[in-house]
């Protein structure tokens, strides 16, 4: 549970994502999807409740420690590091698994150099997976927003995640880019990654997800396989219906 000055953003919401599953999280604006994400990543701290990762309770760990366990996130609002190239941005993602600390960097330079080469390689292959290897040396902030989103996904992948939190990764993408992102997500799922995906485009989610949780006003109003969700009257009333009415 998390509230902001009396406004309860998320309450009693429970989501379980086993590895190898792509779990969709949908709901109208303000439903608490992003807040739930931030509670999992540690960006926000829950007032009450548990976050269990691989059998371990992590809700009291600082965000960098959670990242080291394998929780990676791509933000809804794109947050690439300014003043750095695309490749360097992706390389920063590797901090969650690199062993070297400050002392290592200072004292064990050979190891540091070898690890740095490994990081560079890993970052390059993550860029390849999102289809942007040709932009590696561009300034990150100069890319169009859709491509910045893809760079965020690459940065998250470079962290060798075990669970990947993607907050609307497909928004702002063109059709072809969407298709390749969707193929990448299917492939990552097949590799055994647990993926939690927030997305506005319900069709995009239902095609990929093996399970879907629907939130509205901070609560889970339905969860199940995509076909059930599509027929659920509460969901249609709260979300799908509203969307259809506005469309």
């Amino acid at each position: 549970m998390r509230s902001f000055g009396g406004v309860v953003a998320v309450d009693g919401a429970s989501v379980a994502v086993p590895s190898g599953e792509l779990h969709g999280l949908i709901g109208p604006n303000g439903a608490g999807k992003s807040t739930l994400f931030h509670l999992i990543s540690g960006y926000l701290r829950a007032d009450r409740g548990e976050v269990i990762f691989a059998g371990q309770r992590v809700e009291r760990l600082p965000p960098h420690a959670r990242a080291r366990l394998g929780i990676s996130i791509a933000f809804q609002a794109v947050r690439l590091f300014r003043g750095m190239t695309v490749l360097e941005n992706v390389m920063v993602g590797a901090h969650s698994w690199t062993r070297h600390g400050l002392l290592d960097a200072a004292l064990r330079l050979p190891l540091h150099g070898r690890e740095e080469a490994e990081i560079r390689e890993q970052a390059a292959s993550a860029l390849e997976r999102v289809g942007l290897p040709h932009l590696a040396s561009r300034a990150a902030e100069s890319l169009p927003l859709g491509q910045q989103r893809c760079v965020q996904v690459a940065r998250a992948l470079c962290g060798r995640p075990r669970v990947l939190l993607l907050d609307e990764p497909a928004s702002g993408l063109r059709w072809a880019e969407r298709e390749s992102l969707s193929a990448l997500l299917a492939q990552l799922r097949a590799e055994g990654l647990a993926i939690l995906l927030v997305e506005h485009d319900v069709r995009f989610v239902t095609r990929l997800a093996s399970a879907i949780t629907v939130m509205d006003r901070g609560r889970v109003i339905a969860s199940g396989v995509p076909d059930e969700i599509r027929r659920d009257p509460a969901v249609i009333a709260a979300y799908l219906g509203r969307e259809r009415a506005s469309a």
């Binding site: 960006y43 965000p63 960098h64 990242a67 947050r79 590091f81 920063v92 993602g93 960097a105 690890e115």
Partner: protein, 283 residues
């Protein structure tokens, strides 16, 4: 004209030390969001430590180098105390650095006394293009430029430097990438300590330091850092040089007691001009 060039050389030399102090401010501020009021203390301690080492018979060069390493360690300790627990707000840390700066007076007076000290730098004159200048000037400018370039390489090219840059760009996002922002802050304080210490060991032969010299050094360094909005190292470096030259000109052609006041007025005018050019919307 020769006189002008000599003032210019002296100004660039002292300006280079301001630039080093300013870079220290910028490095620490960018990574931690803390304005480190103890930045001038690093310079004072660097001067005193080098002085003691030289008196103990340690050779020139080595003594200054060791002094800089010790100030880096002192920077680390200041960082540990000021950053405190993870999540301490930068404003609280700022006040802690101010307290530590005042505490340093007691330490310096206890260990070294309250009289100003100095030691010889590089002796002799060097004639460049008909202008003779102290070798120490050349040493200072060279050391500052080399240090600045090394820092640029460190921040731009190494993996650790990238992590620091990431922290300064977006701390919270950096944290979610697995970067321990708190430890990066300590590293920034250590770098800031080394930069301040370097400025101190270079400056002491030119102008004696005493326990409270940190105020003048910090004010000049801070003014230069502010010139670059506290975040742009190149502009801060340039700001340090402008200040140094302005002070040398005031001291040379007018009165040295007005040098800091007039130089800071020049700085303010430059910043107002800069702000009016940029318009009110940016920053």
């Amino acid at each position: 004209m020769t006189l002008f060039l000599q003032y210019l050389a002296a100004g660039i030399a002292s300006g280079s030390t301001f630039a080093l102090v300013a870079t220290g401010f910028v490095v620490i501020y960018r990574v931690t969001g803390v304005i480190n009021f103890a930045q001038g203390v690093f310079a004072v301690l660097g001067g005193f430590l080098a002085y003691s080492l030289l008196h103990a018979g340690v050779a020139h060069g080595l003594a200054e180098g060791v002094a800089v390493l010790i100030t880096a360690a002192i920077g680390l300790v200041v960082g540990l105390v000021a950053l405190g627990r993870r999540g301490t707000p930068p404003l609280a840390s700022l006040i802690v650095t101010l307290g530590l700066a005042i505490f340093s007076y007691a330490v310096v007076i206890t260990v070294w006394g309250d009289l100003p000290i100095s030691y010889d730098g590089l002796s002799g004159l060097l004639a460049i293009g008909g202008v003779s200048m102290q070798r120490q000037y050349v040493l200072i400018v060279g050391a500052a430029v080399v240090t600045f370039l090394a820092l640029a390489l460190f921040f731009g090219r190494t993996y650790l430097g990238m992590a620091l840059t990431a922290c300064s760009s977006d701390q919270r996002a950096a944290r979610l990438m697995g970067i321990d922002v708190w430890r990066m802050g300590l590293l920034a304080f250590a770098v800031g300590g080394a930069l301040g210490g370097l400025a101190g060991v270079l400056l002491t032969p030119l102008q004696p330091v005493q326990f409270d010299s940190d105020v003048g050094i910090a004010v000049n360094g801070f003014a230069a850092a502010i010139f670059g909005g506290l975040v742009r190292p190149v502009t801060a470096f340039a700001g340090g040089l402008v200040l140094g030259v302005a002070e040398a000109m005031v001291a040379g052609y007018y009165r040295s007691s007005y040098e800091t006041a007039i130089a800071l007025a020049v700085m303010l005018a430059l910043m107002l001009w800069q702000a009016s050019r940029r318009g009110p919307t940016e920053e």
